[in-house]
Each structure stands twice: as structure tokens, then as C-alpha cells.
């Protein structure tokens, strides 16, 4: 029987797929889906499942050690602990711009890297820092010492009463 071209066939007849085109479609599909899955798996790998690093929770001492009106710089944790009449609070000393360590200045904090200035309560006064220095959560451990949770931010003005 001579082969009919597509136009001569009835539209009810099944569409013929040539062997070679079937094979090439199968090969391409399997190649690209396998390559895509492999790529996705390879790209997922560098995304860390667990963030390494120590727990950033610091015991700083008993409340009596901090006089009202005092301030204490905790170097290894990069924050400053303040005590005033209302209580204790900690302000992070990591600049919100690009992560340099800010230094205490006469009227607040100053960043050495790009000149951001912060008020005593952490608010941005000038420079490129996009937001205020975060206030950190302060609590008390079972042995009575103050604990600063350096990963937990609290709203500005939150004090721990002692």
C-alpha cells in the first residue's frame, strides 16, 4: 500500500510518529530532565542546611556588678550593655550598613568603615546605615546572672528590670 501523506489521511487516523523522531524526542527529554535535576541537586548543595557557629548567648554577670548609669562593652560578643534607672539593655555594636564594629563616640556610636553615626539609643544620625543598631534581648539565667541573647532583636526601649 503506498504511503499516504498527512493531508490524504482521515483526521480520525492516529498521527504517525516516525521512529527516529520518537527516539530523538525521548533522548532529548531524558537528557534535559536528568541534567536539570542534577544541576538543581548540585546547586542546592552549597546552601547550608545548618548554620555553623557558636550559640550567641552570653552570661555577663550579676546585676549588682553594673551600677546605674554604667555601660559595659562586651568585646567577644560585640555589644554594649547599659544600665539606667529603668533597667538593663544591650545594643549591638555591629554596624547595620556593612558589618563593621562601631566604636563608642561622645554622643553615641561611630562606624570606622563608611562614617555612619548613631545616637546613644542606636538610632541613625548620619551616614549610609539603613537602620538603627538593634537592641538585644536581655534575660536572667538560673544562677542569677544576666544573659544577653545576641541573636534576638527586641524593639528599641525594651529594658530588663532588675
Amino acid at each position: 500500500m503506498p504511503e499516504l501523506n498527512e493531508k490524504q489521511k482521515s483526521r480520525l487516523e492516529p498521527v504517525t510518529i516516525r521512529r527516529r523522531s520518537f527516539l530523538s524526542v525521548a533522548a532529548l527529554t531524558s537528557f534535559f530532565s536528568a541534567a536539570g535535576m542534577a544541576l538543581a541537586g548540585a546547586l542546592r548543595l552549597p546552601g547550608p542546611a545548618v548554620l555553623p557557629g557558636p550559640v550567641r548567648r552570653f552570661k555577663v554577670g550579676h546585676p549588682e556588678e553594673f551600677a546605674v548609669g554604667s555601660e559595659t562593652r562586651v568585646e567577644e560578643a560585640n555589644f554594649t550593655l547599659f544600665r539606667d534607672a529603668q533597667g538593663v539593655f544591650a545594643i549591638s555594636c555591629v554596624c547595620t550598613h556593612l558589618g563593621c564594629t562601631v566604636a563608642r563616640s561622645a554622643d553615641g556610636f561611630a562606624c570606622p568603615c563608611h562614617g555612619s553615626r548613631f545616637a546613644r539609643n542606636g538610632e541613625v544620625v548620619r551616614g549610609p546605615a539603613p537602620r538603627a543598631l538593634p537592641w538585644l534581648e536581655v534575660g536572667r539565667a538560673a544562677d542569677g546572672q544576666l544573659v544577653v541573647y545576641a541573636d534576638n532583636e527586641v524593639p528599641e526601649g525594651t529594658r530588663f528590670r532588675v
Binding site: 555553623p52 556593612l98 563593621c100 568603615c113 562614617g115 549610609p128 539603613p130
Partner: protein, 520 residues
């Protein structure tokens, strides 16, 4: 090729001894198929295309491509410094240990103990500087000689990819000594990757959509610069990025060949054509005149409209020229490395930042922009600049001026004007910012979105774009607008780099000279 016929030895033992005696000859023949230096043009062509490493070149090369004033050798200098970097880099890998506790000491060992270690490290550092500078200048050369135009658009894109890889290699190498400079430069760099948070925080959507945090975690493998970051930077620096660069570089070279060699103007040089050893004037008929055959044919052959291709053999002319540029690059790196040590500061201390903490010179222009807004200066403006550069060959499709410095009429004037406009804009912007500060100095409670939108960096980019659009309207030429924008980009980049290098001191304050920095 030896054509001496030797009598066949009678026994296998004799044949063995005979072959053994001829061993030096036969090995030499197998290696150098020609057996002697090429003597004819045919042998010179074979020297080129029978050699895996040379056959990427065509057998003949146009004399214009060899003219030092066209290319200034910048492409070869970039590639040559990459070769030097690979060799010295592998040597440094012998002693370097990518660990936060060992890295600094291993660099110190390299510097003070290892024989030639200090020299190798210096060469590595200086070739990196040479490579970055050469890559930038090479891009400028290709732009100003219109060499990105059809059919070379694709190679321009490959070149931009190579620019990014070159900068990435340099950035990742910066962390490896793990000294104060490295630690704080990478802290700043990774926080620039984090800076989309500036926008997402201002819109209060960081909780749901945090590309900044994602980028930083991907780069550092943690929330701080430490062991994970060091390993990641090391793997990128010694394997992933160099391999990617070699891949793109191969495509870059191959495309030069496939696109017809270096861009050059159509036709012969200066109306002269060489034919059969003599140079002749090319006859260019006037359209208004009718010529008899005798007027056209002078000498033995006619050279009407265009002369023969003005080419010379690649072997030896091109290869010697390339070798000479390579040796100049080596000499430059050696001289710099001999006289100036690569810096090594104190061991990294996460508690005390360097003051000022400066990135390498080619990122200092960006650091100045970053001191207005991390997100805009560190990510948005570089992205806009890169996309703008990538679009040039597709927006400027008209041919003409290829292979000539500022070739089409009026380009030189546009370039000079843009030079002064770009200079005035960037110097004015810097002077204003240094003297009067910016929005937050006047309105301390202003919303961050205003600073993201309106800061000295974004204003400068808008000024440059406006100037380019004005040139487009005035001169009615896309190429002129591109020249205007590219010139402004170069001027802005250079002035910002210079300014941040010389005039920014501790606390990123303005000083006329580093000697005025306060001592502390």
C-alpha cells in the same frame, strides 16, 4: 624530513642496533615534523596549522592587526598575566592551608621562610593588579575602536563575562591570607551581597523574601566570615573561577578567529596596496567620470577600488610580536614584585575593624558609592553598568569605524566633550557630598527608601544617562551616544577610584592627603 635511503640491515639484531643509533634523529623527526626552521611560506603555514597551540591563529595575518597602536597589546597582556597567575598560584598552593587557624601562618611562612616564596607571592599579587588593569583597558580599546560591532557582538559579551570572572578571582583571592585587611574587606563584601535587605527591610518583607540573606549564606556558608567562608573562597579561587575563565577565554580566542580576526577598516591601508613585492597606489575611480581600460590598468595588474589583502605570515611575525608582549608583561610583574611587597597585616581580629578598611583599588570606586547606599552603590549601579555595557553592540548596529580609534566623523569631539561633562559631574557630586553631606544629615528621620532612590551615586548615573540621551538627540547617532556614556562611565570609575584611594581616610572622612590622617 630525511630522504636518505639506508640499506636494510640483514638481521633483526642489526636492525635494532641501527634504530637505536638513529634514535635521536627519529625522535626529533617525530616531534618536529619539519625537522628545521621553516624556510618557505608553505613551511611557515605548516608551522602554524600543524601545531595544536598555534593553529588557533590563521596562517596569514593582516598588517593592521599587528600595528601596536591598534591593540596596544592589551588582550595579550591580560592573557599573559593570567598565565603568570596560574603558574605562581599553583606554587603558592604547595604551602597554603585554607584554615582560619593555619592560613595566616602559612602565608607568613611563604613570606619569610620558603625559598622564593615571598617573590612568588609578590608576583602573584602584582600580576593580579596588572590583569585587572589590562582587562579594563582592553575593554576600553575594543570600545573606542568600534571592535564590538557586527559580527563581534557575541565576543563582546564573552569579554564582559571575563571581566566579571577576573574581578571575582581577585575578590576571592583577597580573603585567603586571613589577615585584618582580608577579614574586613570580605566582611564588607559579603554584607554588600546581603544589601538587598536594605530594600526588603524598608518594605518590611524580609521575612518572606530575603535574596540578600540567601546570597550571603551562599557566599559564606554561615552568618559570619569564618572557616566555611574561607573554604568556599578557596575552592572558588583555585578551581571553579579559573576553570570557568579558561573556558570563556578559549571561546573568546576562538571567536576572534571565527569573526575574521581583529576588527579593521575595509580595504587597503592609506590607498596603498602591496602586490608582488611592490607597493602601489590603489586606483579609486571618480563616480562622475568615464574611464578607458588603459586608465585603470597600470603596471602589470589592475588595483581598482581595493588592493589585495595586506597580510603577512603569522609565523614568524605574529608569534614573535605575541611573545614580545608576553615578555613585557612578565618583566613588568617581576619588576613590581621585586620592589614592592604584597601587604600582610596582623592576624584577622573580628573585634577591631581596620580603619579605614579599604578594598583593593579596582573596588574602591564602588566602595565610595557604597558609602552612600550599600544596595544601590554595591549592587544596583554595577548591575546597571554591566547591562548597559552588554547592550552596546545590540543597540549600536550601524557598521563603520571598525579598527580605528574613534573612527567615525565627530566621535573625537563627542569623546572630549563627554570627558569634561563626566569629570565636572563626578567632581561636583563628590565636592557637594563632602561639603554638605546628604539627605540624612538634613533630615535624620528620613525613610530609607528615599536614600535608596536619591543618593549621590544614583544622581550621577542619571546625569550620565541624561547626557548620553542629549548626545543621541543632538548628533542623531547611536554610536555617539554610546561613546558619550562609555566615556562618562570610564571617567566616573577613574575619579571615584582615585578619590577613595587618596582622599578617604579613617572613618571614611575626607582628607587631602593620607599624611594628614590622625594617628591613633
Amino acid at each position: 624530513m630525511s630522504t636518505v635511503t639506508t640499506p636494510v640491515p640483514p638481521s633483526a639484531t642489526q636492525e635494532f642496533l641501527h634504530n637505536l643509533r638513529r634514535l635521536p634523529h627519529t625522535v626529533k623527526d617525530a616531534w618536529f615534523r619539519l625537522g628545521h626552521a621553516p624556510e618557505s611560506e608553505r613551511e611557515e603555514s605548516q608551522a602554524t596549522f600543524h601545531n595544536l597551540f598555534l593553529h588557533i591563529h590563521s596562517v596569514r595575518v593582516h598588517v593592521r592587526s599587528l600595528a601596536p597602536t591598534l591593540t596596544l597589546g592589551l588582550g595579550i597582556i591580560s592573557a599573559a598575566s593570567f598565565v603568570i597567575l596560574c603558574i605562581t598560584g599553583v606554587l603558592l598552593m604547595v604551602y597554603y592551608k585554607p584554615s582560619t587557624t593555619l592560613a595566616y601562618d602559612s602565608i607568613k611562612d611563604l613570606h619569610f621562610v620558603v625559598f622564593t616564596g615571598r617573590f612568588m607571592r609578590n608576583i602573584h599579587r602584582w600580576s593580579a593588579h596588572v590583569m585587572v588593569a589590562a582587562v579594563f583597558l582592553h575593554m576600553a580599546r575594543v570600545f573606542y575602536t568600534s571592535s564590538y560591532k557586527r559580527p563581534r557582538e557575541f565576543n563582546w559579551l564573552i569579554g564582559l563575562g571575563l571581566l566579571v570572572l577576573t574581578l571575582a578571582l581577585s575578590f576571592t583571592g583577597y580573603l585567603l591570607p586571613y589577615d585584618q585587611l582580608a577579614y574586613w574587606a570580605i566582611t564588607i563584601g559579603s554584607n554588600i551581597a546581603n544589601s538587598p535587605r536594605e530594600l526588603t527591610d524598608a518594605l518590611a518583607i524580609t521575612k518572606w523574601f530575603d535574596p540578600g540573606g540567601f546570597q550571603r549564606r551562599l557566599l559564606l556558608g554561615a552568618n559570619f566570615v569564618g572557616e566555611d567562608a574561607l573554604i568556599r573562597f578557596y575552592v572558588l579561587h583555585v578551581f571553579i573561577l579559573p576553570v570557568a575563565l579558561v573556558g570563556l577565554l578559549s571561546v573568546h580566542f576562538w571567536r576572534i578567529r571565527k569573526d575574521g580576526g581583529l576588527a579593521r577598516p575595509e580595504g587597503p591601508m592609506g590607498g596603498l596596496a602591496e602586490w608582488g613585492g611592490e607597493r602601489k597606489r590603489v586606483f579609486e575611480p571618480l563616480a562622475t567620470k568615464t574611464y578607458g581600460l588603459m586608465a585603470l590598468v597600470k603596471g602589470r595588474r589592475p588595483t581598482v577600488n581595493r588592493g589585495p589583502e595586506d597580510t603577512v605570515m603569522s609565523w614568524p611575525h605574529l608569534f614573535w610580536a605575541e611573545l614580545a608582549v608576553f615578555m613585557v608583561t612578565v618583566a613588568l610583574s617581576l619588576i613590581l614584585a621585586f620592589h614592592f611587597d604584597a601587604p600582610l597585616k596582623e592576624l584577622a581580629n573580628p573585634g577591631v575593624p581596620e580603619n579605614p578598611a579599604k578594598a583593593p583599588w579596582y573596588f574602591l570606586g564602588l566602595q565610595e558609592l557604597v558609602s552612600y547606599s550599600a544596595f544601590v552603590g554595591g549592587l544596583v549601579i554595577p548591575a546597571i553598568a554591566w547591562i548597559g555595557l552588554a547592550l552596546i553592540p545590540f543597540l549600536d548596529q550601524r557598521t563603520g569605524g571598525e579598527g580605528e580609534w574613534l573612527g567615525t566623523p565627530g566621535e573625537k569631539r563627542v569623546a572630549l566633550k563627554s570627558l569634561s561633562v563626566g569629570l565636572v559631574a563626578v567632581v561636583g557630586m563628590l565636592a557637594f557630598t563632602v561639603n554638605y553631606g546628604w539627605l540624612r544629615n538634613w533630615y535624620p528621620h528620613i525613610h530609607q527608601l528615599w536614600i535608596i532612590a536619591i543618593n549621590p551615586g544614583s544622581i550621577l548615573v542619571l546625569l550620565y544617562m541624561a547626557w548620553s540621551l542629549w548626545v543621541l538627540k543632538r548628533s542623531n547617532s547611536v554610536r555617539h551616544a554610546a561613546v558619550a556614556l562609555f566615556t562618562c562611565f570610564l571617567v566616573g570609575f577613574s575619579v571615584l577610584t582615585y578619590f577613595a584611594t587618596v582622599h578617604r581616610g579613617p572613618n571614611w572622612l575626607f582628607y587631602w592627603w593620607p599624611s594628614q590622617w590622625p594617628v591613633h
